[in-house]
Subunit: 194 residues, 2 copies
């Protein structure tokens, strides 16, 4: 199989990270999720904790620099992560979760962009199980995280988060099940990265 | 493999019908597209030509009956087709193209709902080739047909045509290619209709 990159966007609680890990294991390639934070921090020579605060979050209005047109700290972190994503995509086959990778790599023929979603009820149950939370807390966390991811994606890409025009493949992990989603994405990669 | 139904929505020119035919051949099951018109006409004992005018088109305001609340002719054709779709889904494995089948069969665990799209440029080229049309005419036909399908779908289902919440699987046939889309849907059916 020739070189490929799988960029995965996901609704919170849809199992996107689990799917990414299983894909990476099946294809014997690395996956990048929060690791991109550490790599970005390392590159900048600053603490990963500081960078983490800006991960997949756009700047709040009150964090915007006083000088109009100056990039915010979040913008700088985005640019660093974007740089690393482009480097990784250039040099190795890999799976990248979130961080607008699908749009950053849109021009690449070897990039398959995927979005994972599921009905809220399925996601709430998953979040409750994984994080040992009550229903209300899990629902709040789901809504807040999706809202933040949507705002981040739309701010940096001008595209619709989870909209069909932004992805090659959109899958309902609640209906298909995690293992079937993995099998389907593997089939798509087999068909495109010949 | 147990009984299944594949319901396919599609942007005009994305190759949805070709994909449906290939799926039906690979799975050795029938596919229903415009045949549903003939079946609906037969059931009603009227000419297929008359029914065809209302196929996948919602009534224009001036076609609405004078008595408020009375169904239009298009509504009656929709209801007839819906009845046939539900009957087919109940009794046999099959592939159904368009006509809101995904939403009519949403409650069925054995129904996989799929939407096919592609970049406008890919679709325009396909329409030009298939219908021997110039670029302008092909573009007009694409826009008009999509507009009509979207209005029909949203009128009868209250859901978003091509929106992720309405489907289990959404595929970009321009990026993946027709044969890869067919292989991916077969993999999804294999995983869900065990």
């Amino acid at each position: 199989m020739s070189k490929f990159v799988i960029a995965i966007g996901r609704e919170y609680g849809s199992g996107g990270l689990e799917i990414a890990k299983k894909l990476a294991a099946a294809l014997d390639v690395p996956y990048y999720d929060r690791d991109l934070i550490a790599l970005a921090a390392q590159k900048r020579g600053i603490s990963a904790d500081v960078v983490e605060q800006a991960d997949e979050v756009k700047a709040k209005p009150w964090d915007t620099p006083a000088v109009v047109g100056m990039p915010s700290f979040n913008d700088k972190v985005f640019e660093l992560q974007a740089e690393i994503i482009r480097e990784k995509a250039e040099t190795e086959s890999c799976v990248i979760v979130g961080r607008c990778a699908d749009q950053l790599l849109k021009h690449r023929d070897d990039c398959l962009s995927v979005f994972i979603h599921a009905d809220p009820e399925v996601r709430i149950r998953r979040i409750m199980n994984e994080h040992k939370l009550g229903r209300e807390e899990a629902t709040r966390l789901m809504k807040r995280t999706d809202k933040s991811r949507r705002a981040y994606y739309q701010y940096y890409t001008d595209c619709t988060w989870g909209g069909r025009g932004s992805y090659d493949l959109i899958l309902n992990s609640g209906k298909l099940g995690i293992d079937c989603v993995v099998a389907v994405i593997l089939k798509a990669i087999e068909g495109t990265a010949k």
